[in-house]
């Protein structure tokens, strides 16, 4: 890794004292990247850009928002009506949250398909899971702030879940509420934490990128870099490709902002919070729906066998455990997947299981929006069961017994081979 020589005297002066320019050159310009990355590798940079958009729009919204139960709803409507371009910044922030999750879900599924979580990138994957958890906390806190019906009742339902903690449950819930129900102290606290968490996400993203740069990116073939022929400098190849990706993303994102700004939202949140009136259907935002389905899937008096002793766990507790496990289990994915081959392109059995898993999470999403009864409950239970079966049973087994396809010699060999095929 040769140190670049700078010609510009100002650049040289600064870089000698604080090597920012060398750092940028090293990590964004000459940084070696596999030459065969496809467009699914755009979603990491997109996620970073959405984070910046969310922080910028959020800070401007915070200039006009009032976190007091008597004024919160009206302060948001004031932003929509009286603040110059307030409607635009609010809709950017609101739809940006949904975009953030769309981008991150695709980013995660990319990782699961191509085995990007495998050695030596396990920690990169785990930091990613923590970013995801922080995102969910941030989104949950943020949704409470407009103080609509869903804000209030969603907050009530989710904070109540913590009462399942043995012995300290009720105390913890009152601590979360800073009171005996979701009320003004809760709202004020949630505003403070919602402002704080994105900067924690920023820090986690820094760690995530540091881990990434240590062993560089995975690639669609899932095979290691073997030589210089396999790599190309990040600039101009991936800067150009990422820029194009941002253009397409903005078309998608701003299409919603300008023409369907309430597509992802819940009409009930345009009604001011009323602690005495519960909406007929309490639904979280779409990106939480699969977890909501898992939460409500567990039957009453779920009997679990620990060792040899049957233990009866109430449905609510089991639901909470299932919901959190569904995410925390992903941390163990690098070890649950026993396959030596990374990319599903070369794993014919896992290929179908992966897509089944994706469909399963989409089904869980639909179930989460429906009332927890009848056919939907049955579908939800089956989908929840499959989710855990996939992770805990199928992944380890398939990895061991699957007949994988032969891997190419190297990335450059595969690319050259593809070129030869295409030009013939």
């Amino acid at each position: 890794m040769s140190k670049p020589t700078w010609k510009n005297p100002i650049v040289k002066w600064v870089d000698h004292r604080l090597p920012v320019f060398t750092f940028i050159d090293h990590s964004l310009v000459t940084y070696p990247t596999p030459r065969n990355l496809n467009y699914f590798w755009n979603f990491g940079s997109l996620a970073g850009i959405v984070l910046v958009i969310m922080i910028a729009s959020g800070i401007v919204l915070a200039m006009n928002y009032t976190a007091n139960t008597s004024m919160a709803f009206d302060s948001v409507e004031r932003i929509m009506r009286d603040v110059n371009y307030g409607w635009l910044i609010r809709y950017i922030h609101m739809n940006g949250a949904s975009m953030f999750f769309i981008v991150v879900y695709i980013h995660i599924f990319r990782g699961m398909y191509y085995g990007s979580y495998k050695e030596p990138r396990e920690l990169l994957w785990i930091i990613g899971i923590f970013i995801f958890l922080a995102m969910m906390a941030t989104a949950f806190l943020g949704y409470v702030l407009p103080w609509g019906q869903m804000s209030f009742w969603g907050a009530t339902v989710i904070t109540n879940l913590f009462s399942v903690i043995p012995f300290f449950g009720e105390t913890i819930v009152q601590w979360l509420w800073s009171g005996f129900s979701v009320d003004n102290p809760t709202l004020n606290k949630f505003f403070s934490l919602h402002y704080l968490l994105p900067f924690i996400i920023f820090g986690l993203v820094f760690l995530h990128l540091w881990a990434l740069h240590t062993h560089k990116s995975n690639n669609p073939l899932g095979i290691d870099i073997k030589g210089d022929k396999d790599e190309i400098p990040f600039h101009p190849y991936y800067t150009a490709k990422d820029a194009f990706g941002v253009g397409i993303f903005l078309l998608f994102f701003l299409g919603f902002v300008f023409f369907a700004p309430n597509f992802f939202g819940e009409p009930d949140n345009y009604i001011e919070a009323n602690p005495l009136v519960t909406p007929p259907h309490i639904v979280p935002e779409w990106y939480f729906l699969p977890y909501y389905a898992i939460l409500r899937a567990v039957p009453d008096n779920f009997i679990d066998v620990w060792g040899f002793l049957p233990v009866i766990i109430p449905a609510k507790t089991a639901g909470v455990i299932a919901m959190f496990s569904s995410i925390l289990l992903l941390i163990l994915l690098p070890w649950l997947d026993t396959s030596k081959v990374r990319s599903a392109n070369f794993r014919p059995t896992y290929f179908w299981l992966f897509w089944l898993f994706v469909i399963d999470t989409i089904v869980l999403g639909f179930v989460g929006a429906k009332p927890a009864e009848g056919t939907w409950l049955l579908v939800g239970r089956l989908a929840t069961l499959y989710y855990f079966v996939h992770l805990v049973i199928l992944m380890p087994l398939v990895g061991r017994f699957e007949k994988t396809k032969p891997l190419p010699e190297s990335i450059s060999a595969a690319v050259v081979g593809k070129d030869a095929k295409e030009s013939s």
């Binding site: 030459r35 009506r81 635009l88 101009p236 253009g247 078309l251 300008f258 009409p267 007929p280 070129d419």
Partner: protein, 266 residues
Amino acid sequence: MIRLIYKRAMLAVCLFVLFSLINTSITQAAGNSAPPDKQSWTTNGLFGHFDRQQLKRGWQVYNEVCSSCHSVRLIYYRNLAEIGFSSDEIKEIIADVEVPAGPNEEGETHDDGEPIMRPAKPFDKIVLPYPNDLASRAANGGALPPDLSLMTKARINGANYVHALLTGYKDAPSNFKLSEDMHYNPYFSGSQIAMAAPLSDDGVEYNDGTKATVEQMSKDVTAFLIWTAEPELEERKRLGLKVMLFLLVFSAMLYAVKRQVWAKLH
């Protein structure tokens, strides 16, 4: 391995299926009520805009019929300039309107228990029919006429729903158990609503001479409520078109640059 073209076709089909499933669940009605008919609103679509003549008629319906029970507490009198009223016309509208005055020189806000009033100004909010929810319920047999400022955003398929509700009153079917003081309306959740049919033919004499049928008044007041909920709609769609056009051109240029850069590799 599955050929790239089939992969892309599968992806497109899946996305389309996903989108239609989501779309149908959105445009349905909520809960146990009839789905409203789809109306055509001038605000629909990429080129959605307000018909200010209609909005003025809608304001007239709200002001003369609905405002006795329903508030629009997010709207100021000065907002009426956006639907085409001149400042003189607004002054005329608020000519007889009084609002509670701030403390006078002695710091009093009430005289003999009655609030001291002052003439309304354009920067005042449109006056509420009742001072608070309890007074509202007391005057309406326990039912609470909701604020209408955001109604078309606060209901699934809001505008179509409001119009269907206003025009949907009919006699209850023989096997339907109608509670006391309730009215049958299949578009309302549970099919019975405390509000009696608010509109009747020629209930309002339109200033522009349009015939005031129930259908007409309902369309007009619903269009007015689309405006109260989304006053930024026109600016939003206009700016949106410019932004989309810019992004299409810009993305095409970015794609060309990308291809140009990558051509070096082969």
